[in-house]
């Protein structure tokens, strides 16, 4: 089990990465004519981060733990 500060720090880092990815998404959409593929690749990365670090999908097969 991670300590409290490390967990809180991890949440902050994920939020910052999500904010940066959203900004990249916005810039990509403005600069490319057909941005469907890159935008959905970025969206998949964002969704993956949320599913792994916020939704803790691994608990489905590993049980209780904090991380």
């Amino acid at each position: 089990m991670k300590d409290k500060k490390a967990t809180y720090r991890q949440i902050l880092i994920v939020i910052i990465v999500l904010a940066v990815l959203t900004a990249i998404e916005f810039v990509v959409a403005l600069s490319l004519d057909n941005a469907t593929t890159p935008l959905y690749i970025i969206a998949l990365v964002e969704a993956g981060l949320v599913v792994q670090f916020f939704m803790h999908i691994y608990r489905l097969w590993r049980g209780e733990e904090h991380s």
Partner: protein
């Protein structure tokens, strides 16, 4: 009647442990969320079929603001869930309240500004009656807003139970369930945002 049939059913059933019940609840919630993929997947498919490489000329600032609010709310929800896991009740309760406020703010931005239900000048130029653009936009944001609304209600219920001391470091499935649901609502928006605001050439309605 046989001896087995005469026995009350409860006597044969050993009550599952809290961990086992949580494991089952968790699986049930994830299966429910998986089924929801078909709802939003169908809406996304309809968007790409009907709009193709076009989109309504929506206000980019509003879309970015709504996205930022929802992502931030997800962070606070994660903080709240982690808080109860460490018996940090102050962080838990405050974070849940901030999440509910941010969720409400998201609804204000989407329903209040983008739908412009109050008729504010300069907002909500896309109407429900504006053909395929209005229909797709309102049905997608509408379904999502309903999920946000139910999430906010759920979080407030969990917050109220938390305030009364109903959760502990080891027993907080209610918090985890609400958190997973809330993050799911966020994940859905992560895919709706580019589909509605960013992909395709803007078309003036």
């Amino acid at each position: 009647m046989s001896a087995i049939a005469e026995q009350p059913h409860e006597e044969h059933v050993e009550e599952a442990s809290y961990e086992e019940r949580t494991r089952r609840n968790r699986l049930g919630l994830w299966l429910f969320l998986f089924s929801e993929i078909f709802l939003f997947g169908a809406l996304l498919a309809a968007r790409f079929y009907l709009w193709g490489n076009t989109r309504p000329d929506l206000d980019q600032g509003t879309g970015l603001l709504a996205t930022s609010i929802l992502l931030l709310s997800s962070g606070f929800m994660a903080l709240g869930e982690a808080g109860i896991g460490y018996d940090d009740r102050k962080t838990f309760l405050r974070s849940l309240l901030v999440t509910a406020v941010l969720g409400t703010l998201f609804l204000v931005v989407v329903v209040g500004l983008e739908w412009n239900i109050f008729g504010i000048e300069g907002f909500g130029e896309l109407k429900l009656t504006d053909g395929i653009y209005g229909a797709i936009f309102y049905v997608m944001t509408g379904f999502h807003a309903l999920h946000v609304l139910s999430g906010v209600i759920l979080i407030l219920l969990v917050w109220n139970n938390g305030r009364k001391g109903h959760f502990s470091e080891d027993r907080h499935w209610g918090v985890e369930g609400a958190a997973v649901y809330w993050h799911y609502v966020d994940v859905v928006w992560i895919f709706l945002y580019p589909a509605l605001y960013l992909i395709g050439n803007p078309v003036s309605i």
